[in-house]
Amino acid sequence: MSTTTTPTTATPPAKTPPPARKPATGTPRRPRRVLSAIPAFLAWFAGLVFFLPVAWMVLTSFHAESDAASNPPALTAPLTLDSYREFFSSDGASPWPPLINSLTASLSSTLLVLLLALPAAYALSIRPVKGWRDAMFFFLSTKMLPAIAGLLPLYLFAKNTGLLDNIWLLVLLYTSMNLPIAVWMLQSFLAEVPPSLIEAAQIDGAKLPVILFRVVGPVVAPGIAATSLICFIFSWNEMLFAKVLTGVMAETAPVFLTSFITSQGLFLAQVSAASLAISLPVLAAGFAAQDKLVQGLSLGAVK
């Protein structure tokens, strides 16, 4: 379908296969074209089905509550920003402190993760230490321990040291949650740096800092960016630790969202607006990291 009609996207080589294929099968032109359109049609259908709930939530968030709560759904109801306005300036609980807490926790822990993971990944890839595989697997194995199994002692510890409802405790926990992922990801990115590049710099007499910042740095910068975005996403999304270990002061955005759990139908538009507003930073980060997302989510094992 795309091969003959659209040179819009950057697929010039796609123009060549059809003439090679057509004589090989020898089927008449039209049915073949219809048949080859089916997968594209199905793909679009699947994409739309998966996207529909989000699209609907976006539409609902821009509807007045009375239109959002109509059945059958009011597709063409007038649009309004009321729900967002109410969400951000609500008289009861303002979403700003939780949003700022989430931002603080996610950014600080991402920074701390990079600080710890970059040297570790260096020691595991460019000049690997003895037993580096064991170290890698130790990091990975911590991801497989269910978080809930360590939560009670952490809660007791926080309670006895006065760290309950303190955002910096969450920063430490989010760091431990993301550090293994970051080590694995960064290891796989650093391992892609051609050794000849480093050797050449060494022969030129470059010192370690110069090699790191001038030679290795630029090559792995996109990988570091993707790793940061993924750590940010996971920290921002986390709910269980935040729910148990924070209260009023350090409440995060996902915990704030849980106050909408019991709200009944009449707040449909506001639930939608709140959910989307709080998801927005993650959506932005996720779309930005799209290409490297798989590698990150599969701990660098899949490229």
Partner: protein, 313 residues
């Protein structure tokens, strides 16, 4: 890497090589120590607490209980049913999202107009904050009076001229309701991993197979599936790790009611609401043992992928 060969024989080169080894190791240590302190110590504490009879509401009655909590956990109907719920939920979500993900990855692997846009639409469910996604399913989609699902049934009824049923999805089918929301969130993850797998196929083999006259199904069955095996395994294992631990969807959609409490939720309730610290810890230890069994399998799979990667380099 080859430093500690002559450690004991001659003291001075041994010492310097040991120093060199430590210099190599130094960048790794902060991360390693941090992880041990923050993840292993709490678990050890959980292990200790699991041996005590300890309810925070009666702090003076704390006493050593041996393995009593473990037998409490194993004989408690609610906790036992949460084990079954966890298994059913995890297995169904992982299997269904894996099959759906494979089908969609195969569709997305072909070139067609708007592929980038479809891919982006597919990823969106995975990028929604989990609590937000669960809230969306609970209120915007499942709500019996205003939800989109029943709204679509009304549309369909008007179109075809019948009186549509208006089920209360969450109370009539609570576990499937939770599962569907998770399948919706996790299918994109499977799609992404399998798509990466598809795009790493050795194309020469496919050309050769075509020249030999293999049809599409034979190529899929004998080339694509074997190549994808590792990616399928990886998707299944990573998915399992995350879905076994799922808390947000269960907490948001059903609050663990109607027999949908999985293990993380049951443990959360046991310690956060019932304040039964000892029992909650014992349940936590059992979850870890279960996870370790899955994890050993998981690590082997990742390790084989990893070795393949290493041999290529």
């Amino acid at each position: 890497m080859t430093t500690p060969t002559a450690t004991a024989a001659t003291p001075s080169p041994g010492a310097s090589s040991r120093a060199k080894a430590w210099a190599l190791r130094a960048p790794l240590l902060p991360a390693l120590i941090f992880m041990i302190v923050v993840t292993q110590l709490p678990f050890v504490a959980t292990l200790v607490i699991s041996l005590f009879d300890w309810n925070a509401l009666y702090p003076d009655d704390r006493s050593f209980n041996g393995f009593g909590n473990f037998s409490t956990v194993l004989s408690d109907d609610a906790l036992r049913s949460s084990v079954v719920t966890t298994a059913v939920l995890t297995a169904s979500v992982v299997l269904i999202s894996l099959v759906l993900g494979l089908a969609i990855a195969l569709l997305l692997d072909r070139k067609f107009r708007g592929r980038g846009l479809v891919r982006t639409m597919m990823i969106t469910p995975f990028l929604l904050v989990p609590v937000a996604a669960a809230l969306m399913w609970k209120h915007v989609l499942y709500n019996p009076e205003y939800g989109l699902l029943n709204g679509m049934l009304v549309w369909l009824g008007d179109l075809l001229g019948f009186t549509p049923p208006q089920p209360d999805w969450i109370s009539e089918m609570p576990l499937p309701a939770v599962a569907v929301s998770l399948i919706w969130q996790w299918t994109p993850f499977m799609t992404l991993i399998l798509l990466a797998g598809l795009q790493s196929r050795p194309l020469e083999q496919y050309e050769a197979a075509r020249l030999d006259g293999a049809d599409n199904w034979q190529i899929f069955r004998h080339l694509t599936l074997p190549h994808l095996r590792r990616y399928l395994e990886l998707g299944a294992l990573l998915g399992s790790i995350y879905i076994v631990q799922n808390f947000d969807a269960v907490y948001t959609i059903t609050r663990g009611g109607l027999d949908t409490a999985n293990l993380p939720f049951a443990i959360y309730q046991e310690f956060y609401q019932a304040q039964e610290y000892g029992v909650a810890s014992a349940a936590g230890v059992l979850v870890v043992i279960g996870s370790l069994i899955i994890a050993m399998f998981a690590l082997r799979v990742v390790s084989s992928l990893f070795r393949e990667e290493g041999s290529r380099a």
